[in-house]
Symmetry: C2
Subunit: 156 residues, 2 copies
């Protein structure tokens, strides 16, 4: 197995992975909203200013999807991932506005082999995404499944 491939064994409790940066562009906010969440504050600057969000704001689901892409670019692209059973919690704490730049981290808070799926481990993460002012805009916890190294193969 190539040295750069991450397996279950690489996700040790306390290890942290950097996310981003990702610039949030108004045309991306609008394109996502038109397909999945066409509420006025996600489509139009003035409607956003007149809402409690204060400007053209990304749908929370768009923020979550951008966060997913940051996870992919940071570590999932190098890992033997088997997907996720879901989201334990995801708070959209502050509006994500056009022109913001997102970054963050995923911290491993639990890791165990699954009884129900031999050879697969489940890793629980705490995720934080912040804007360019250091304000946390999105906080989440979820678990992701990874293949373990074949037995007999030692860690690099």
């Amino acid at each position: 197995m190539a040295d750069e491939t991450l397996t279950f064994e690489d996700f040790t409790v306390g290890r942290s992975f950097a996310l981003g940066p990702k610039a949030v562009k108004s045309d991306e906010i609008i394109a996502f909203a038109m397909e999945f969440d066409p509420q006025p504050m996600h489509l139009d600057e003035e409607a956003g200013r007149n809402s409690i969000l204060g400007g053209l704001a990304a749908s929370g689901w768009h923020t979550s999807s951008m966060f997913m892409r940051m996870m992919f670019d940071s570590y999932l692209s190098k890992a033997l991932s088997e997907g996720s059973p879901g989201i334990d919690v995801m708070d959209w704490r502050k509006p994500v506005l056009a022109g913001d730049t997102l970054s963050g981290r995923s911290l491993v808070i639990d890791a165990r082999l699954m009884r129900s799926r031999p050879g697969i481990g489940i890793v629980k993460f705490r995720h934080e995404v912040e804007n360019q002012r250091g304000e946390i805009v999105c906080f989440g916890e979820n678990s992701i499944m990874f293949r373990a190294r074949p037995s007999g193969e030692s860690a690099a």
Copy 2:
């Protein structure tokens, strides 16, 4: 206010809103994955079959975004929504595969006026999305904020 506009007062505990149907197309699965979650099982039929998902499968974030659009089409498009503070829980219980048809419901399980935001109420929903075999593929709970009717204006 037009009769068809839904305000906080319309989201009474026990009221249910039908979601879907939404046909899940392979090109939509792949387009979403390329932008937000380019893991092999979301991009390629054979890679999906070789994963625990069993076929070309939508990213969980894509399933959640399709669910968002079903909520919009069912009731948010008619409502004075002020967005959502986040997701309390969202389980991706079964794979969503190309060719599936999704439907479901949003059930109001709690509703209260917010102290922190005068004139806005927060409504908690339990959401279920199922496939064409009646299997629940996505289960979630989250809260959405709605404007209340201006005081003095009676319900229609």
